[in-house]
Every structure is written in structure tokens, then in C-alpha cells.
Symmetry: D2
Subunit: 399 residues, 4 copies
Amino acid sequence: MAKTPLDERLREFMDRYIYPNEKPFEDSLRHNRWKVPELMEELKDKARAEGLWNLFLPDSNFGAGLTNRQYAPLCAIMGHSLIAPEVFNCNAPDTGNMEVLVRYGSPEQQDTWLKPLLDGRIRSCFAMTEPDVASSDATNIRTDIHADGDSYVINGHKWWSTGAGHPSCRIAIVMGVTNASAPRYERQSMILVPMDTPGVRLERRLSVFGYDDAPSGHGEIVFDRVRVPKSHIIWGEGKGFAIAQGRLGPGRIHHAMRLIGSAERALDLMVERVLNRTAFGKPLADQGVIRQWIALSRIEIEQARLLTLSAAEKMDQAGNKAARREIAMIKVVAPRMALSVLDRAIQAFGGAGVGPDTPLAQHWANARTLRLADGPDEVHLDQLARDELKAARQRMEQS
Amino acid sequence: MAKTPLDERLREFMDRYIYPNEKPFEDSLRHNRWKVPELMEELKDKARAEGLWNLFLPDSNFGAGLTNRQYAPLCAIMGHSLIAPEVFNCNAPDTGNMEVLVRYGSPEQQDTWLKPLLDGRIRSCFAMTEPDVASSDATNIRTDIHADGDSYVINGHKWWSTGAGHPSCRIAIVMGVTNASAPRYERQSMILVPMDTPGVRLERRLSVFGYDDAPSGHGEIVFDRVRVPKSHIIWGEGKGFAIAQGRLGPGRIHHAMRLIGSAERALDLMVERVLNRTAFGKPLADQGVIRQWIALSRIEIEQARLLTLSAAEKMDQAGNKAARREIAMIKVVAPRMALSVLDRAIQAFGGAGVGPDTPLAQHWANARTLRLADGPDEVHLDQLARDELKAARQRMEQS
Amino acid sequence: MAKTPLDERLREFMDRYIYPNEKPFEDSLRHNRWKVPELMEELKDKARAEGLWNLFLPDSNFGAGLTNRQYAPLCAIMGHSLIAPEVFNCNAPDTGNMEVLVRYGSPEQQDTWLKPLLDGRIRSCFAMTEPDVASSDATNIRTDIHADGDSYVINGHKWWSTGAGHPSCRIAIVMGVTNASAPRYERQSMILVPMDTPGVRLERRLSVFGYDDAPSGHGEIVFDRVRVPKSHIIWGEGKGFAIAQGRLGPGRIHHAMRLIGSAERALDLMVERVLNRTAFGKPLADQGVIRQWIALSRIEIEQARLLTLSAAEKMDQAGNKAARREIAMIKVVAPRMALSVLDRAIQAFGGAGVGPDTPLAQHWANARTLRLADGPDEVHLDQLARDELKAARQRMEQS
Amino acid sequence: MAKTPLDERLREFMDRYIYPNEKPFEDSLRHNRWKVPELMEELKDKARAEGLWNLFLPDSNFGAGLTNRQYAPLCAIMGHSLIAPEVFNCNAPDTGNMEVLVRYGSPEQQDTWLKPLLDGRIRSCFAMTEPDVASSDATNIRTDIHADGDSYVINGHKWWSTGAGHPSCRIAIVMGVTNASAPRYERQSMILVPMDTPGVRLERRLSVFGYDDAPSGHGEIVFDRVRVPKSHIIWGEGKGFAIAQGRLGPGRIHHAMRLIGSAERALDLMVERVLNRTAFGKPLADQGVIRQWIALSRIEIEQARLLTLSAAEKMDQAGNKAARREIAMIKVVAPRMALSVLDRAIQAFGGAGVGPDTPLAQHWANARTLRLADGPDEVHLDQLARDELKAARQRMEQS
């Protein structure tokens, strides 16, 4: 099997183990939504055994060593199912957190937290967004991290920490202010906070539309005089912004890829549906409006895919920072595209589209959230425009 | 208080009793989602005491005797909150069912079912859509109703029966085939089926974008050799289609009105939010893009409102059938408008927009469903086009 | 005939005299585009004889004395054809100019200019927009009007003065600065400038999407030390802004009404086309996509019509100033709606849609311009949002 | 200079010779719109001298021998200006006609017509679309070509033959029916008809929106008993469809590329405009709405560019036929994208956007036409959907 290309192996795995287990997985949560179903651990074992594990990590010491361009189509395949990424240990926010630890973690931090994360034995969360401020402007963040002897003491209020509610979640990466009077982009730090530290309180799990996204969930967390050793700081004081910039690039492109998978799933389902369903005397597939939906969906997916692959290449060749413009573009494009394709599929399915019998509505809710997570579209569009205007100003001055 | 106009009284009631009770109502469901909270009964008592009760019913023997045009703005006010309509005994599908019983019910049927419904003592559901066929084409419906001695025996499978899961739901109006060889539009009948009749099985409650809409819910029901007395047929055999036509008009216009209320709520919340929230150094309200959203939302709401009022007037003056075109238009326009306004509000709120702390996401899920319920947009648009083409053909023949 | 309602008479006139003369009118311009065809004068005589003349003017001393609400549907009918408004002496900018003279003109000004305009013997233009500044912000206007003895001397550069190129254009209403140090909204005045005054130079006629709109046209005019008697000022120095506000309301609503007519014409043509044209084995009218276009067009027209009528009523009942919000809404809605409907019709016609054999492309160009004339959409939307925000602020302060 | 990459040389040529000559070129047509300005011949000489000539032709015996992928960005640069393609001998429909003669022409045909076309000494037109039938379905075409002795006699009525009105147009490629009873796709042939053959009548030149597109223009042509030698048939009787398929691929991708150039030009102009223009106290470039326009335009252009390049690569690697899906996608995407970007630019320019002082309105009219030329969007979308459905059906049968 070793010679079979990864995408084929992945597709086969999806067909064999993922799609047929979506409903059993959901059913297994019926009695206790916040316990990891054994089914998930079995699926993870299978994926690990077949070498479909940690494919997201470009660093070959720890992971598969694939480039972004190589990982992109694989990530899109995983995106077909909302339960798949965890099976392959490729789900947000753990992938982003692992990248942070690979790049910026101390050997001790890597040993303690990265290793079990790479093994899929524990989960993690990322605590950045705060309820009281517009966190799309990260300089607004208020959580306080102050040194006290050999410790840091953390006080703050976070929410939308995806994964914080996961029963295996053991560690949070927390963003907060270590020095409010430092230069603007050196005020923030990131620090590792074990979830069982006294003073860490999971206030509640937030639903997205009506979905609790169990057993992962989105946590609202209060940090109330939480004390951790100084060694828990990542990279160093004042590096929070720099780490965030490094973290967000791959995170955004992974989201974009998964959304392309969401859209592909929707189009597949829609096409099958309209081939099998009859109304007013002819199959839905023979109705012109439906056919326009199919064609437009294919076009939108294709355009988003090409843009994402192009961004991945730029990241591989020139680095995450140089690819800022491209990353901003896919951050805006991918969720809009997925929402548009999913919405058409929902419309083609009628009641089954909004209900629990297709994955469409939940994929939609996920995609809608991604127009907000890591900053709303408008922030990214504004930044893109500033770059265009700056380039034009330079052009005009030269001529 | 008698002289205060109804809309003012209603607005006051909303401010005083409804908005502040939205969260307590949701909280009261925490331990048992399928039990009616006492809070609801208290609110209903208050509404009844203030004469804000059964305002939907144009028939003055039973209800408030308001015209559609008079009821429209009141219904829009109720639509601001998803818990309000039941408080005023004006919620779907009970309003539609009560109208059916007022117009087509026998004195005995009215006595047994209409009276407790008007009193708000019981709830009802409407069982029309079926999972196995494209029910937007009602001639597809397969549920079988056959006479057997003094009884009818019913066999069928229905879903998306809103209210079927409500703990007070006692009666279903079921649509099915009594004579498959009758002329196309005389094959169907409607029949009253008490929910506790042997063979009626609530298979499950369906969620909509993750929302269970407790304690009402959307039921999937199996009717397995269900036997009811012949007197339970409404109006007579073969009248199902005629009743459906009569029922759907008011139902659709009520939905449209409530959606205008949803959108007004969203715009109110968005405007307050952007006045109070700062990002990148200035209030969101000072950002041009947000201001375009506000203005476009106002315009879209205003246009939908005028169209709905115009349809209501036509119904009052010329009857539901003559207003078919107008009703089809608002059926298409109102959900799209509400979705557009709600989506902008969600975007302005960020995480709070998709989560449980604002009512936006649930209003959105409700509005999205209404692009499908009672037939998808495409069916109504197609019918509208046929009418235009028919009129043009006549014009062309005359000239 | 006196008892026949005006709309019926107008429709009949359109059928009999306008539509059949569109092509002959265009042909008559072939050899000299800037000469008024005799055909136009004949049509005007007919319209005047049938009492279909000056219907736009609410002032019954001078015109038909119809309210805005009464005139609206008539104006929409005229809007079906681009040559119709002049035939009925109801074309822009003459209607707006006549309104200015009725309201603010001195008896002498009315005698000299209003009378021949009402008779249709001369035409006029309105010189406001300037090429060098963003005129959507009227405080930017730079044309200088300074007193010199018994005269005013005018220096400035204007463009997009519709009608300035018309061979019968005799008079311009010019907006300019009389006192740059007055309070912001009292700096501007309006003044009457006969087109044959020395120093008035029609620089060129501007085309709109390639159309010269002969024989009316859009003029670029230079005013080079133009001297007129002091009596030519309208109302008084510093009243320019106040007059503009008064003038723009009716002007905008007339444009909106005519655009509804444009859209109705487009829909009529599209429907006839698709009934008569076959592709891929069936009439275009049987293709689902085309039918969606027809239905959406009907809905959009209907919504714009209701909004315009509602604005007209508000103007009649509360005055132009109080109806500012409503006028801003139709200013935005009507051109967008017309463009959308016209674009679908163009698509249904193929080559004939973009070429000279249907009036669609020219109506489109006209509608596109009206998203800019009297201020671009964005300015009106921004103003609408400010009003919403202001109202919300007041609401929030009170509660 | 030989080593400078083609795109740089082309860009330099555009800056130096094309943009500054757009207005002089238009001016030179003032007195006689249907005479080739000397300026054009001078520019062609310059382009030829610099080796920027016939770049479109992949066949290296006749042209530059570039692949589609290599030519694509060059073609996009040319698309910045509507006068540029002819300067480089790369304008439609001549490029398509030259490709036909390269691939399917006899040596004699190549000698007589291809050579002077490649030299830019004559121009040609393509006569396919007919006014009386929906030509998007090419089987509808009615023009009759029947053999008579050593000749073919042609009778038919064509329109939208771009270039037919060009003063240097010497030759038409005409599509017509040679055998109405042959299999469906073998009924049609293409034949060379010199424009001075007796019976060829240029009925009129059609305008697009208000543009006559002089000195090229779009002709309506009547073929009235036109007699040409049998040797004028291209490839052979019944090959019309096959040639059309071969011709349309490159033609469509060239259009797409040029449209990307149109959009780039619009974005450049818009950005410069908003940096230089102030309204309501701040530069337009500081207004959020305008910035969203800029960012969305950049994203849309980028996505269309990637899709077009991807189609070009597929054509190079797998052939025009295998790239059918990709070609259909860019046929739909490119005009829509260009229209969207151009429309924003027009809105940012106000009056100057719709008038003659910017090239925006004419680019817009051109792009709008390209949603219709070579078949309306709807036909291509429908074909794309059929392909998706067919693939899905096969997938479903296999599993």
C-alpha cells in the first residue's frame, strides 16, 4: 500500500471509515455529549496505523513533512466530514497549537505538551478572543499576565475557545498582556496553562447556531488568579503578536482547505439528490434552475481551490509573512464560497437540508462562523485594500 | 387602557414581559426541554388579561375580528421574539389550524378542538410534508386514509410537523389520500387525529440548524393503522386541497409579518451594538461599511413591509384566492429579506452573533427554514412566472 | 373622452403614438442629430390637445394640479419610452426647472421663462455638477457668481447639464457661490442664465455609454465672465441650497417613477420574446431559469413601485423635507431595480438586447447614470444610516 | 532588447504608445469613423518592429509559437486598452480566423488570405450568428450554401459579424448549411467569401449600447445569391461544426484574458481616482465602502486569472476539446468578473465613469456583450451541469 498516493488512500479511508460512521458517532453522544466516544479512538487508531496521521505538519521531525501545497488537497478531503479532522489528528485548534510548540516551544514544553498532542492522547485549546472587546483588533485584548516571583498570574475572560470543552482537553495557550507600556506589538505574550490549574473555570460551552459541537465545543473560560511557573511562557515575553502572526497563516489556509471539502461534499450530495428526486413530473436534475446551481457551485469551488493552492505555494516558497495578501484573500473567499454552495444544496434538499439527516446545516453553521473567526471579512478586506492603495501610491510617485 | 391603540399596547407588553423573559424562558428548559415552563402559562395569562389574545383571527365570533391589514403590524411586532407568538396564542401552526376549524369544522369539531385551542389550553400540529416524496408538489403525498365501517384508518409517514413535540399537543390535522382515482385535486382529505390515538407514534423531534425549538419542536410522526371515527374528517372527503389552499394564504402572510419583526429586531440590535462597540480606534457606527448595512437593511425591511401590507389588503378586499400572486411574492421576499438583515447583524456582532447570547442565529435558522416550508422559493417563483406568461399571451392574442 | 381616467388615456396614447414612433424618431435624427425633428412637435401637439400635458405640476395654476401620488403611475407609464416624457412636457430637467420657477421665481422670471417652458416652446438645463470636484458634496461647488454693479458675473465650469445641447435650450439655472464666507449652507445661489449670453460656451456634448441622447444631450459648459442682470437671481442670494433641496425631491421621485416604467417595458419585451423564441427544442418561456427571471423581475418592480408610491404619499401629506428618508430610499432602489430587470431582458434577447433594435440597452445606460446623478447611492445610504443611528441614540437615551 | 521578457516589453509599449494614443485615436475618427486612421498603421509598424506581433498564434511557422499559458498574461496586458489588440495583430475575430486558416486552410487559401492577415494588411470577419434564430443553438443556423457547377451559391442573413464594417475587411468566413439531411453535426460548412463578391451586402453597422466600435464595427450582412468557387470551402463539406469547436476554444480564452486586462485597467484607474479625490472632508480612499470595492475587485480578478491560466494549461496539455469544461467556466466567469470590477470603478468615478473621458463605460459595454457572444452564460452553465451530472451518474453506478 505504501506506493499508493496519499490522496487516494485518504479518499478510500473516508469512504470506508468516515462517512459510514458519521451517524454512529453522533448516536454515541446521545447519553453523554461530553465524553469521547470509543468509536473516535478506534478510528484514530486505524488512521495512525495507515500512516494518515499528522499530515498537516511541515516539520518532518514531528509530522509528515508535507509542504502546504502537498497538504492542501488532503486537508480538503478531510473537510468533507466534520468528524474527520480529529480522526487524522488534523483538527483545529490542535494543529495550530502544535505548530506553535514546534516552532516556538522550549524542549521541555515540547516534551510535556507537544508529544502527547502529536500522539492524539490529549487535546488543547487556544484562548484569545474576549467577550468584552472587539478582538478582531488584537491590541484590544485585556487579559492580564503578570510576573509574581517564579510564577505568572493570569486574570482574564475568554470565549470561543474551540476545544476547551473537550473531555481530553488538558492545555490552553492563552494570549494576554505582560507589559501594557511596551511598544504596541510587544505588549502581548502567549502562555501555556494546564486546564486543571486552580482558577481556570470553564464557564459554559457556547453553541454555534444550535450546535454544541460535542464533544469538542466552544468554551467560555474565566482565568481567576491562575498561577503557572514562569517556564510556561512561549518563546518569551512580548512575543504574543509575533507568534499569533505565525500561527494564523497555516490556521487560515487549513480552514480554507476544509471549507473546500465542505463545499465538495455539498455538491456531491446535491447532485445525488437531484438525480434521485422527482417533482412536478420530472427529476430535479432536469430543472434548469437546479442545473445553474450545480454549475455555479462547481465554478465557485474551482476558483476557491485555485486561489487556496496558489496561496499555499506562496507560503511554501516565500514564507507565511510574504503570503499575507494571498492568505487574506482565501480567508475571505473560502467561507463565502462554502456558504453559497451549501445554501444551494440545502435548498435542493428541502427539510432534510436544514435538519439532522444531512450534514449540510452543520457544515453551514461551521462555515458561517469562519466568516468571523480570526477576524471578520471586513477587517481582511480593509487590509487588502490598504496594500493595493500603498502599491498604487508608490507607482504614482515613481512615474 | 381600552383606548390605547393595539400596537402601542403590544409594544409595551413586549418591552415589559417578553424581551426580559427570553433568557429566563430558555433557562427554564434546561432540565426538561419538553415540559411547558410555568413562565409561559403566566405570560399567556397576562396577555389574555390585557386583551392581546387571538388577534390573528378575522372571524369576530371566535377571535379579535381584525382584518389582515389590521393584524399585519401587530403580527410583525410579535415576530420580534421567537417566544412571543405563543404568548399571544398567535403561533404557527395553531393559528392556521384554528382558521381551518373556524371555516370548515363541524360544530362538534369546533366544540371539541377549536375551543380549547382558542383558550390556549391545548396545542395542535399539522401533518402534511412526507420524507419520501417532494411534498412541494402536494399531489405527491402518499399517506393513505381509507374508510372502514364507521371509521377511517390512516397509514403514513410525516415529518416537519411543527408543534407535534409540544407537551400540550393533543390534536393533529392530517392530510392524506382518500380516493386515489378521483380527479387530481379531489384525491386528498384532511382529518383530525388526536395525538393519543393508538398507532400515532412520534418517531423523533427534528432539529433545525441544531435548534430543537423546544418545547414545541418539529415532529416526525408515523401513523400506523390509526383508526378514528368518520366524523373526524374536515368538511368532507376530497376537500383536502381546497382546505390547504384556504389555510396556506393566511399562514404565509403571518410568517411574512413575523419575519419582518425578526428583521426589525436584528436591525435594532445591530444599531445598538455598533453604537457601543469600538474597533481600530473608532465606534463601529462610524465605519462606512457598517452604515451601508444599516441603510440597506432599512430599505429591504421597508420594501418587504409594503409588499406584505399590500398583500394583506388584497386578501381583505378580494379574498385569499384572488391574492394568490401577492401571497406568492411575500412568501419569497420575506425570508430572503430577513436572512439578509439577520446575516448583517450577525456579522456586526461577531461571535455573539452566532452564539446563544443574541437571538440572531435562531431567528436566522427560523427564516432559512421558511424558504422551504410551504414549498421552496423556486416553486412559487415558477408559479408567478406562469401567471405573467399567461397574462402576456392573452394580451398578445387580443392585439 | 373627458371621463376616461388619465392612466387609460395615457396608455392608449403610448400605444397609438409613442411606441410606433420610436424608430421613426431615431431615423429622423440620422442626418442632423441636433435639430428637433418635426415629428416631436407633432407628437407634442397631439399630447397637448388631449390634455396629457404638464401632468407633473402639482400647482394647479400652472399645471395639472395632480398630487405626487396621482402623478406617480402616470409618470411610470411615460417612462416606458425614452422619447415619451418630452412629448408630454414632463421630461427632466425641465420639470424640475419649472417647479423651481413656480415656487421661487419672481413674476417677471415666471413670465419670461416659465410660460414658454410650460408651453413647450423652449427647453432649459440645470448647471450644477462640476468636473473638477466631487459634486455629490454640494459644498464643493466652485463656480463663482459675484455682484458687479447691477449685474452678476459668473465664472465656472459645469458638466452633465442634461438638455444643454438641445437645439431649443434657451435658459440655464446655474448654481454657484455668491458668498464664500457665509454659513456653509448659505454660500450658494441659483441664477438664470440665457444660453445666448456672451461667455456661455457649450464645450461639448457628453455621451453616456456611447449614447449622445440627441437631440437633448448632456452638456459641458464653460461660463467665462458671463454677465446677467441682478434680477436673474432666483429667490435671493444664498438660497441655492434651499432651492436645491426643494428641487431634488420631486426630481428624484419622477426619476424613480420613470425607472419603474423602464423596467415594466423590459419585462413586457422579455416576456414576449421568450414566448416567441425557441432554443434547444423548446420555447425560452419553458426554461426554468428564464421563468425565475420573470418572477424576480415582477417582484422587484412591485416592491419598488410600492416604495415609490409610499414616498409620494409622504411628500403629499408631510412635505418634501419630511419625506427625505423615503426619497433617499427610492433614489437608491429604483435604478438598481431597473438595472436588474433590464439586464435580465438584455440577456434574454441576446445580441438584439445590446444593439439598436430594442430600447433595452439605452434604458440601461439611462438607469446606470441615475445611480450617480443627484449623488451616488453611497451618499444616500450613508445619510439613511445616520438617520437610523440618530433615532437609535435618542431611543437609548430615553430608556 | 532581445532578452527582455515579452511581458515587460509589452507593458512598456503600452505605457509609451498605447495609453497616450487612445484619445488621439478616437479624435482621428471624428470626421470619418469608417476610415482606418494613419495612427493605427503607425502603431502597427512599431509593434511589428519590436517583435510584438502575432503573439497569439501557437503555430511557430506562422506566428510567435507561444503556448496558451505563455500567451495568456500577454493577452491580458493587451486587454487594458480596447485599441491595443489590433495594434499587435491580436484582435478578434481575426485571430480566430487566422487559426482556422492555419489549421484547416488549403495552401492556396493560406496563400491568398492567411498571409495578408498575418501581415496585418487586410482584416476579416466571421459570419455565424443570424437575426432570425437562437444561434446559441448552432443547429438552428439557416444560411444556405448549395453547390452549383464549380461554384457554391450562398443565401443567408447574418448579424453581429464583428469587423465586417472595417474599411480593410476583405474576407468573411461564413457558416451555413450544405446538407440539411446529413447527420446533425455534419450539416454545416464554413466557406471563404471575399467581401467584394457580388451579392454581399453590408446592411448596416450595429451599435453596442451606444458604441459603434469604429472603425471595426459589427456588421449585419445579407448574402444574396453569392457565388464563389468550390475551392473556397474550408477543410470540406460538413466540417463547419468541427471547425467551430476548434475555433471557439482559443477565441474564448483570448476574450477571457482580455477581460482580465479590462478589469485590471479599471482597478488601476479606480485606485488612482480615489487617492486623488476628496468628498465630505476626506479622500475617497479613506472611505470604508470604497476600500471594500478595491479588495473585492482584487480578489475577483485574481480568481478569474487563476482559472484562466488553469484553462490555458489544460488546453496546452490535453487539447482544446479535453479542456471544454475549463473553457466553459472562464467563458462564464471572466465577463461577470470584469463587469463587476468595471461597475465599481464607474461608481467611484461618477459622471466621468459613464462618459467619454474614461475608457470604463466602453470596456463595460464590451464585457456585457461577451456574456452573450459565443452563447449566453446560461448555455455554458447548463452544459457544465450536464457534465457534473453525467460524472455523478457514473460514480453512482459503480458504487
